[in-house]
């Protein structure tokens, strides 16, 4: 009987607009970094340091926001970095991302609670209302931080979490207030230009201190994670999520720079109570410096600032508790952490256990660590988390760029994420100068996470639909033999490959693995994948029967959502030297972005191994082989493959070069090939040169007189392949004769491809 309940699915209603999610991001960012950061950065890096810190951090944050924007437009689901790392690298890094996200958000929550404590105590101290408290200022601040954290943990437990819609207006208010402060700063300078001298000396402690300052204030730019978490509730998420991420980073960067500028010019040198240079005076207050500056900038500045800080820190604290709880809940839901993390309170319908553990981290860090160590710990964890996201965006684009539906792709790919990776790694390491405690806390958390993954999560985690899974596999004993993987789709595709595979395997003394991939549509559950296996199994059996008497052969059958990605992942895992596969020879329409088809194109571009693709091949003996010769590693491999076949079938090879009189191209002679690297039968090769303006047609005419064409693939950069057809692509698609297309692996490029 059909289970009707299986067809009922639940989803959140999409009610959050671009405005709401932009404000969510802003609310998470304008929490503490700016309020605590300005005074501290002025103290550490001087007046120019604070302006450069927020500007350059904004640029690095923008690059990471572009990565988040691209990934969230392709995967607009709640989960953020945890989802992206899973898509890019699988379970292990995904667990690490979720684990780091949990801690980073929790520690950011600690920072917001501490900020609240500092500014509330400062305000009441200013009114003279704290004299009766028998505690030091520091202890009082920590006590207030503890109380506000407990209060919001309880609010979250009650389920009265602030919604994006209500929170948006509070955030708008506090952002407008900060922009107003920035404008007042500009007006002050226009009225009294001498205050511009407050910005000198610009970088009194040098550039190294600037890097330290950038490191510990980076937490002020982490709002796009919460925007990514709202993917399930956003209207038109593919369009709005990336826009919101970019807008929020842009708005906070301009706001921070304006506010930092206003703080610097707020104090006039020589006024009563101001000792030394104005920036030194602000800096000596450290985290209270911003408040002291603003209180001198405008009437009632102290009162309005305290109000802004209260709104900013409580809304950010609430958002981080929500975000951290959701991260640990997701780990429990996927059984990466024990099941009880996913326990929902029957009374309140909130994830009570995840919330309890999140609360322990928030309160523990807020109480036990000094303020700047809390800020540094949060910054390090976010820097490392974003580091992982930036690597993920490169890997996802390279491996899944053709199968995901993107709503946005970043410009200057992959240079912007690479710059962000380098900068974030550098800032994270440099933070050791600011807080050694942070560099003990963060690695301890990550290492403990890796241990939990190895000893618990690995064996308990639930599979997801995105993973490529091995259904059946025979393992060959480890050896240093040359490895060939043969992709087999069905019996029709398998039989013509037998002869070439046999020749190449024997010449290379190779170990052969037959690979069959079972493409299962997204709509079909994993449990039904085996229904798709039958046809491929017949093909694998056919090839096995023909080759197993001559070679040690193993087989593997895998489930995947996309054939090209499945093949590439198998090639990488098997550390394959050569991939052999068949091609039906039907290219995509001209308007399509692919030249040879979505599988062959992707494999030729991205496989780290040598690739041999057979088109229209049969098992008939070959007498004349044509190799269009243009030099390069692909040409060398084409001659090598042709030579191996020629030796077996006793055939002649024609190395054919077409010179276009309009473009002089210096083609190296075949004799330049290193006979140690390529098994080329020079004695069988005859050279032929033709002059023609139509290179493709001349090659096709020549091909008619031969039994087989062996063609080296193009090495043109991807962008040129997109914008105009290469000669190799044109010949490959138009030639009706039996054809082998080859592409050679190569050095560093191949190593990077294998890793990515």
């Amino acid at each position: 009987m059909k289970d009707d309940s299986a067809s009922i699915s639940a989803e959140l209603s999409r009610e959050l607009s671009l405005f709401h999610i932009t404000m969510m991001g802003l609310g998470m960012m304008i929490g503490a970094g700016v309020f605590l950061g300005i005074g501290n950065v002025i103290h550490v890096a001087g007046p120019g340091g604070v302006l450069l810190t927020f500007t350059l951090n904004g640029i690095i944050a923008l690059f990471t926001a572009l990565s988040y924007a691209e990934l969230s437009s392709a995967v607009p689901k709640a989960g953020g970095a945890y989802n992206y790392a899973r898509l890019a690298f699988g379970r292990g890094p995904s667990f690490t991302a979720g684990w780091m996200e949990w801690f980073a958000s929790s520690v950011a929550g600690s920072l917001y609670a501490v900020t609240f404590g500092i500014y509330v105590v400062r305000y009441f101290e200013g009114l003279g209302l704290t004299g009766w408290i028998p505690l030091s200022t520091y202890t009082t601040e920590k006590t207030v931080a503890f109380i506000i954290a407990v209060f919001f943990l309880y609010i979250n437990y009650r389920g009265a979490s602030e919604t994006g819609k209500v929170g948006a207006f509070f955030t708008l208010g506090q952002t407008l207030f900060l922009i107003f402060i920035g404008l007042v700063g500009i007006i002050v300078v226009v009225k009294d230009p001498s205050r511009i001298q407050n910005l000198t000396p610009y970088l009194p402690y040098g550039w190294t201190k600037l890097l330290v300052a950038m490191g510990f204030t980076y937490v002020a730019f982490e709002g796009y994670e919460v925007i990514a978490q709202a993917g399930d509730e956003t209207i038109d998420p593919k369009r709005n999520l990336p826009k919101a991420m970019l807008y929020s980073v842009g708005i906070v960067t301009f706001t921070y720079v304006a506010v930092a500028f206003a703080s610097l010019v707020a104090v006039k040198a020589g006024t009563p109570g101001v000792e030394g240079l104005p920036w030194e005076w602000i800096g000596h207050f450290k985290e209270r410096g911003f408040g002291e500056a603003v209180s001198r900038l405008m009437p009632y500045g102290n009162f309005f600032l305290t109000l802004a800080v209260i709104f900013a820190s409580v809304s950010a604290l609430n958002a981080t508790i929500y975000s951290a709880t959701r991260a640990s809940y997701a780990l429990g839901r996927d059984r990466m952490l024990p099941k009880f993390f996913a326990k929902i309170s029957s009374k309140r319908k909130t994830p009570s256990v995840a919330l309890m553990f999140t609360g322990i981290i928030i309160i523990g860090v807020a109480i036990l660590l000094p303020t700047m160590d809390v800020a540094s710990s949060a910054s390090i964890m976010f820097l490392l988390l974003f580091f992982l996201v930036n690597i993920s965006v490169i890997r996802v684009r390279l491996n899944m760029g053709d199968e995901l539906n993107y709503g946005f792709i970043m410009p200057f790919f992959p240079w912007l994420p690479i710059i962000a990776i380098v900068c974030q790694g550098f800032l994270a390491v440099w933070l050791v100068h600011m807080s050694k405690i942070a560099w003990i806390v963060a690695p301890t958390w990550i290492i403990s996470g890796i241990a939990i993954y190895i000893f618990y999560s690995k064996s308990h985690a639930i599979s997801t639909a995105d993973e490529i899974q091995v259904l059946e596999e025979e393992h060959a004993p480890p050896s240093d033999q040359y490895r060939i993987v043969v992709g087999v789709a069905n019996p029709e595709n398998a039989i013509p490959m037998i002869r070439t595979t046999y020749y190449l395997s024997e010449a290379k003394d190779a170990r052969v693995k037959l690979l069959h991939l079972v493409p299962v549509p997204e709509q079909v559950p994993l449990s039904d994948a085996e229904k798709f296996m039958l046809e491929g199994k017949e093909g694998v059996t056919e090839v096995m029967l023909s080759l197993m008497l001559k070679f040690p052969i193993t087989t593997t059958i895998r489930y995947c959502r996309n054939i090209a990605r499945g093949i590439l992942s198998a090639v990488r895992e098997e550390k394959t030297d050569m991939l052999i596969m068949g091609w039906h020879g039907r290219p995509k329409p001209r308007s399509h972005a692919f030249g040879l088809g979505s599988t062959v194109d992707v494999i030729l571009e991205r496989s780290p191994s040598n690739v041999v693709i057979l088109k229209n091949c049969s098992n008939q003996p070959i007498k004349k082989i044509l190799v269009p010769w243009g030099g390069g590693p692909n040409g060398a491999l084409a001659l090598e493959v042709a030579s191996i076949i020629a030796e077996k079938d006793d055939s002649e090879i024609v190395a054919f070069t077409v010179n276009d009189p309009r473009h002089h191209v210096n083609i190296p002679p075949v004799s330049d090939l290193d006979s140690n690297q390529a098994q080329v039968s020079f004695g069988r090769i005859r050279f032929k040169v033709a002059q023609s303006r139509d290179v493709v047609s001349t090659i096709l005419e020549e091909a008619e007189e031969h039994d087989l064409v062996v063609l080296g693939s193009t090495r043109d950069p991807l962008i040129r392949q997109i914008t105009r057809d290469s000669v190799a692509n044109a010949v490959a698609t138009r030639c009706q004769k039996p054809m082998i297309i080859v592409k050679a692996s190569g050095g560093l490029r191949s190593w990077i491809k294998r890793w990515l």
Partner: protein, 52 residues
């Protein structure tokens, strides 16, 4: 004395200008991708390149 201030201001102006350029370029790209119903990264790259 003002040399650092001038260099620093130039760096900030350039960085903020670059940020605005990237944000506005991205905004236009997002709208273009949706208007033309483009899907894969390859398709989007090709189309954006042709548009230029």
């Amino acid at each position: 004395m003002y040399e650092g201030l001038l260099i620093g201001s130039a760096v900030i102006a350039f960085a903020l200008g670059f940020m605005l350029y990237i944000i506005f370029w991205s905004r236009k790209a997002i709208d273009y991708i949706h208007k033309n119903d483009l899907k894969s990264a390859r398709e989007i790259n090709k189309s954006l390149h042709e548009r230029r």
